[in-house]
Symmetry: C2
Subunit: 161 residues, 2 copies
């Protein structure tokens, strides 16, 4: 913790399950954290590492909807797509995720938001891959930088509300 100014992001990579678990507290009510995940303009403003910018291709935020966005760093572009399996406001988001550069890879993410005392929120995001190898590739592909910096940007966005 940096004098309380930033929350710590915990990333757990269990040895024997093809899973990544992320734990992160936010200094905002869960309705705000939830909305920052499903509103496309808000989501594009904070997701990923600081040196990329992202734009929505399509974004249909409902149970049974789907999304696609394109991130750029200089002239390089990276596209991602997935489905919203379930949106249960304000507590749970279940979605799929594919990086188009690796079109046979897919993961399932279950995100839950738990209210904490003082109007704060605990986020738990569990990503499940097809195999340990695929999970390790997710982690090796810069996941930690993207997640840590993305959540710092989300802190800043929530503080501006």
């Amino acid at each position: 913790m940096n004098a309380g100014a930033r929350q710590e992001t915990t990333i757990n990579v269990p040895e024997n399950l093809p899973v990544v678990e992320i734990l992160r507290d936010f200094d905002a009510p869960r309705e705000h954290v939830y909305r920052a995940h499903v509103d496309p303009d808000l989501a594009m403003a904070w997701m990923g590492p600081r040196d990329i910018t992202s734009r929505v291709d399509h974004w249909d935020a409902r149970t049974g909807g789907s999304w696609r966005y394109v991130s750029s760093r200089g002239e390089d572009e990276f596209a991602f797509y997935g489905s919203f399996h379930e949106l249960r406001s304000p507590e749970r988001i279940v979605q799929t995720f594919t990086f188009e550069g690796s079109p046979d890879g897919v993961s399932l993410q279950v995100l839950t938001l738990e209210p904490l005392a003082g109007g704060r929120t605990r986020l738990r995001a569990v990503s499940i891959a097809e195999s340990l190898q695929d999970r390790d590739a997710l982690v090796a592909g810069g996941m930690e930088t993207g997640v840590v910096q993305g959540y710092q940007q989300l802190d800043e966005l929530l503080a501006r509300r």
Copy 2:
């Protein structure tokens, strides 16, 4: 094998991964097997154990689409829903799956169809659950009967074409 009349269904439940792998050969070209999975009338005709009937609530068969169907046995009804993360005709279907009676459960299924000699097709379906416990619940919930009898009904459907 029953005098060659029926294919054998192999269900693998690895000890240390929250995964169920199903392997099954069909005596039909993969375009036919693929279509029987994405056409709602065909899918409802063969899916599940023999003593249930199923009807579509909604079915939007495209990458990013979603589906919901209701199965009945006598007066009991069971509803299921999910998203089509990817439809890649005629070789690959990636979808999510939730039984509404267990609304916090979700699995991801990656189905691939490989052409075999003689116009036959090998199906491989890998279902990934959140945990070993959730995977074991999937298997304990009558998965084997549903899969084995469902594929026998699919054999019969494919033979009528």
